[in-house]
Amino acid sequence: MTETSEPLVSAPVSPGRAKFLRFLIRDAGVLLALVLITLFFSVTAPYFATPDNALKIFVQIAINTVLAAGMTFVILTGGIDLSVGSVLALCTVVGATVMIDEDLSPAVAITLALLACMATGAICGFLNGWISTRWKIPSFIVTLGMLNMAAGAARVVSDNSTITGLPQSFVDFGNLIIGGFLPSIFLVAVLVIAAGWFVLRFTVFGRMIFAVGTNDEAVRLSGHNPDFYKVAAFTISGLTAGIAAMVYLLRLNIGSPIAGVGYELNAIAAVIIGGTSLSGGKGSIIGTLVGACILQVLSTGLQLLGVGDNFKPIVIGLVIVLAVILDAYRERLLRKIR
């Protein structure tokens, strides 16, 4: 606002160093936290730093990681998806029902089950997105409705019972540990994260997800349809709920209408701890993976330390709140550096 219009006040930090600091604060912060927590439990908790325990953690984070990957898309656009837990339940009973069909060969049954899971999830997600954009209803409410509807549908489909008797080859794949260190279901989770990372980082679609979350009105006035991207994000979240349902079947070998209770909150927690902003437009899916790891490392570590099941949720809850406080602080710190 001066005569020459170039009053760019000299930045307090040099550009190169600022870039590094920014990286440290924004991207490496969560990773650093994970490393520190892991080190802490490695030293203090018996059996924590063993290969067996590491494998267990990898197995345990798979479902949440897949759910959280889709959730990241929704939160980046400024929405929230509370329905993924019960959509997962619905998908497990749909998938299991298809898979135990005795008229089909195992290979066909498994393929059809996978497609059925993904389609069921995607349809639920699409409905979430379509209803909330078409009638301009907050996604919080719409997905809360879907949470109940999908849970009910899961009971209807399964006749309110657990479905067992999945093909042996499917169960075997679920137990497979590739090369002795990589559980198959963790590989699935990593592939989902990798796909999400690629889409968000390199594609036009990914750029639009960030843009819509930053300012959907500006996106609209730039000649786009922001609702398309919001609906797509919810559809992706439903799709990953379907994939997570397959992971659930691989790991627990049952389709259950009461599966997935509270999973949506774990997924949201992973996304937020991973540094994605609830108001949209900012975040990363790698952060989400790290966030999921932090949650599980904490849970396992506390258990091994002998912290009772009653106290564990208290600590984990505190960590979630702490993560959000740090996030707000991080923003302030970043502004100062710029």
Partner: protein, 500 residues
Amino acid sequence: MDDVILSLEGVGKTFPGVVALSDVSLSIAHGETHIVLGENGAGKSTLIKLLAGIYQPDSGLIAFNGQPYQPKTPHDAQQSGIRIVHQELNLLPYLSIAENLMLENLPRRAFGIVDRKALNSRAVALLKEVGLDVDPRTRVEALGVAQMQLVEIAKALSYDSKLLVLDEPTATLTPPEIERLFSIIKRLKARGVTIIYISHRLHEVFEIGDRVTVLRNGRLVATRDLKGLAVPDLVRMMIGRDIADEYSFDDTIVPGKVALSVAGLKRDAATPAISFDVRHGEILGVAGLVGSGRTEAMRALFGADAKLDGVIEIDGKPVAITAPKDAVRHGLSLLTEDRKGQGLLLDLAVDKNITITDLGKVSRNGLINRRAEAAAANDLVGQLRVKASSIEQAVRNLSGGNQQKVVLAKWLFRGTSTLILDEPTRGVDIGARREIYQLLWMLAAQQKGIIMVSSDLPELMGMCHRIIVFSKNRIVGEVPRAEFDQERILSLAYQEYVRP
């Protein structure tokens, strides 16, 4: 000046990328009505926010009633007796007038129950003082803007304020409402209330002001007695020179065929239909008061808001525009009035803001080619002389003028045949403003059609081939360049409001 109520000593305030206020020293006498003038971006709003406790100064001292004045929050400011009526009103629409008036100090009975009787009777007294004859139990949402303004002033009075700051109170008022406001201001003055009155309407300040302070680019130009000054003097102080040399109207550019024509555009059943056109290589000015329907017409034309009726033709061919994406596809661009809220992705980098209009140009099979994107963005940043540390800087941290250039860059990136610019120089410093004017001339020379909506009449008269004037949602006149006359355009703008 022994009777000083408020004094500023070398006050400065800097934001990332901008010096908003620098070394401002000023003293306000007890009981005077002090006018603060300045263009957009001159530092007026920063000054108010310092007084309101919203910002804290980086340097300098402020004293109020002889005491150091360092409000940390708006609450502190109110406690000290400084009350600000902001341009965007801060009333709660679903509460009653009385509740709004006494929100911070509701009269109570036992158990904290609100004493409705006392509340309403006190409200009646306050409303009487500002000459507002409305039932205090009316919900604020039912009031007009002028009435809301009076409620705000009544609210300020309810705290026995020593100093009242009015921030552009007439921006959205009609002439009769302005008259009423002025008589209230005079009455308050007679009661000994000190008033700081911020405005950019030069003609009105003579009626109420004692002294005037002019800010320019964050610096104080002068403080003078209003007596003996005239409008051209104020203009010179605000702009730093006569207006004439601000624009370099290029009469070598001859408008060609009609680029865009709008016929019978109707937003809803209540608003009249409007028609106008713009030619290739022509800059069409759109004048009118704030709230006269200029912005709304442009938004409806662009498909940003719904419209009821109307035929839009581009190069003689009718086109269907129901959403901004249709308009963009047909080569229209809209630079919105609200740059931050509607034009930019503030937290994203300069390059991402520029390419958003047409990512297809820098991608293949849905994958963005970052190198091509950076090259395109750097190209435009250089061409428009956007001052950013790099194309990776978030646009939030650019100055207003540079942000506006980024908005222009994004439409140039897309390629456009007709640009609609709504207040393109609002909040833009003079240097960048000139560059924007030059850019518009260049675009006109490339035979693009340009529609320029502005509240800055000298700007329109300097830039445009033709000006159409809005008054109360109607196009009331069209003035060709040869007949440009400030008085005539202004009276057209007021025409529909003055009529009974």
